[in-house]
């Protein structure tokens, strides 16, 4: 078993959130800035698997532009199997919000 496999039986997929998720993710996730994007990597606060999320400010097709709400919503995007995960999605279903503050 790899060190990013925290549980023996996989958690079922569930779209759930908790304020503690955001607190743990803010402490655990590591941001990496690229041109046009920020990549956040860390352990999902629900399932514990490694999750990597790419945050962008714009994406092709302007009709799907992202509104600037001052925070970003992150999903668990781990590669582990979670029973019940709908087709086209991945992760355990956990989601939370983070604010990204750029410091000089």
């Amino acid at each position: 078993m790899r060190d990013d496999e925290p549980v023996s039986s996989p958690l079922p997929y569930a779209e759930v959130t908790d304020e503690a998720y955001a607190t743990r993710a803010a402490a655990d996730f590591r941001p990496e800035a690229f041109e046009f994007a920020v990549v956040l990597s860390g352990r999902c606060p629900r399932c514990g698997h490694t999750s990597t999320t790419t945050l962008v400010d714009e994406v092709y097709r302007k009709d799907a532009a992202i509104s600037d709400s001052g925070y970003r919503t992150l999903l668990c995007e781990c590669e582990a199997e979670h029973p019940g995960c709908p087709a086209g999605l991945r992760g355990c279903g956990a989601y939370w919000t983070l604010r990204l503050e750029v410091e000089a």
């Binding site: 779209e15 955001a22 046009f36 956040l40 994406v59 970003r72 919000t97 983070l98």
Partner: protein, 167 residues
């Protein structure tokens, strides 16, 4: 440096928007490539129709134009050629990518690499569309000059007919 802080309690609307964005990001490069191929085919068809089927046609001999106007036609046609070739290359780059090899160490993590390529492809697509439209404009301008530019004095002078001796 980027610092992370907990955000407000997430809502289902936040979840749906994030899922939609994740889906858009995963298929972004394919959509850009498909759009670039469509633009390439459409603009290529436009140019073929204009030039290949002679929908616009000027004088075939620019030496009949007044001095200087023939040279202007040549400059316009040369500029149209340059713009057309550059536009075609930009459209091909948008549709099929660059002819380069990327060092493995420089590869960004997925799906960021695809997003960066999609952004570059959209830029090339915009550039290519603009250049091909510029090429078309220059072609039309060149043909317009051959239509409306004054003729050379030699071409304007009446033809002299010699009397025919019947004997």
């Amino acid at each position: 440096m980027i610092r992370l802080r907990p955000g407000p309690p997430a809502t289902v609307a936040d979840l749906r928007r994030a899922q939609q964005l994740a889906g858009l990001l995963r298929g972004e490069l394919e959509r850009v490539r498909a759009a670039a191929v469509a633009w390439r085919n459409g603009l290529g068809g436009l140019l073929v129709a204009l030039v290949g089927f002679s929908l616009i046609r000027g004088r075939s001999d620019v030496s009949t134009l007044a001095p200087g106007w023939g040279a202007l036609v040549g400059v316009l046609l040369l500029a149209a050629l340059v713009a057309g070739v550059a536009g075609a290359l930009a459209l091909l780059r948008a549709a099929h990518g660059r002819l380069t090899v990327t060092p493995v160490a420089a590869l960004p993590p997925a799906p960021l690499g695809d997003h960066l390529e999609a952004v570059a492809a959209v830029r090339s697509l915009r550039t290519g569309v603009g250049l091909v439209l510029l090429c078309t404009t220059l072609l039309v301008a060149a043909v317009g000059v051959t239509w409306y530019a004054p003729a050379s004095p030699a071409a304007r002078s009446p033809a002299v007919s010699l009397p025919v001796d019947a004997t």
